[in-house]
């Protein structure tokens, strides 16, 4: 079981692919949109994250014969989706604890 926390770019890439398969530029724009314009991934960071996710089997390429080589599409695997849900659970727990602690301090 992979219980380690994800970095923010990786998490945002996974969230982007959780909705639908996307190619590189679409992921960049979607990450920018998800984060409200706060996170602007560079191509180096994006493809570093994609390579690691591919190596770990969290995402895979969509095999389409007519897709050009410079515009390949990626999609989340079931393993990636499972790990993303675990990460969201971890964050949910963390925010719950954070809310309780900050509320207690303010009271």
């Amino acid at each position: 079981m992979e219980t380690f926390a994800l970095t923010e770019p990786v998490l945002l890439v996974l969230l982007s692919l959780a909705e639908q398969p996307r190619h590189g530029y679409a992921i960049l724009k979607d990450v920018e949109s998800i984060s409200g314009g706060r996170v602007l991934l560079s191509t180096g960071t994006l493809y570093g994250a994609l390579q690691r996710l591919l190596d770990n089997g969290w995402i895979e390429r969509v095999e389409e014969s007519e897709t050009p080589r410079d515009r390949r599409t990626y999609k989340l695997t079931s393993r990636g989706r499972r790990n993303l849900q675990m990460e969201i659970e971890r964050m949910r727990h963390l925010t719950k604890v954070a809310a309780l602690r900050t509320a207690r301090k303010e009271a």
Binding site: L28, L40, L41, A99
Partner: protein, 176 residues
């Protein structure tokens, strides 16, 4: 700029370049074509792209040499666990200062007869003091800047209003 980008791609290991090179160039070209026409946006874009490429190439070489031992460690690319660049720069300046001081002390200890008298100092030596003063001011400024970045800047981001009852909503309190 596209030529520079392609040239920088050569810093990646061959396998990475072969696998992602065309895609990265294509995405770079597309992103560049949709940039706002302001100079600031262009500078920010190129800076981010070239820094991303350099760090990505370094990371790819590291992974190739040592293997991806830790898949996605939190201390990698995570803003709140990363040293601000100003701190790293300041640490390097201090390190350089310490090394130079040690070297100077070693020279003095090894050959005290070689230490020149104040009366025989070369004329350019007088400019050394203003330069040292400027360096000291720059170091203090760097220190203050680093402290502001690490402390005040992040304190500003702390949410003081009542926390949203739905913790699943995205926001800056998540992983930002």
């Amino acid at each position: 700029m596209l030529a520079v980008y392609c040239w920088l791609l050569c810093l990646y290991p061959g396998s990475c370049r072969h696998e992602f090179g065309e895609e990265m160039t294509s995405v770079f070209r597309e992103a560049r074509s949709k940039l706002p026409p302001t100079l600031a946006a262009k500078i920010s874009f190129y800076r981010s792209e070239f820094c991303g490429l350099l760090s990505g190439a370094l990371r790819a070489h590291f992974d190739r040499l040592f293997g991806p031992g830790i898949p996605f460690p939190r201390f990698y690319m995570q803003p709140q666990f990363r040293f601000p660049r100003a701190t790293v720069f300041l640490m390097l300046v201090i390190l350089a200062g310490v090394v130079l001081t040690i070297e100077k002390a070693r020279t003095i200890v090894n050959g005290p007869h070689q230490v020149t008298s104040a009366w025989t100092l070369p004329p350019w030596f007088i400019f050394l003091f203003p330069a040292l003063a400027c360096a000291a001011v720059a170091a203090v400024w760097g220190l203050l800047f680093a402290l502001r970045r690490t402390g005040m800047h992040r304190l500003d981001g702390i949410q003081t209003s009542p926390v949203n009852s739905n913790p699943t909503l995205p926001g800056k309190t998540g992983l930002s």
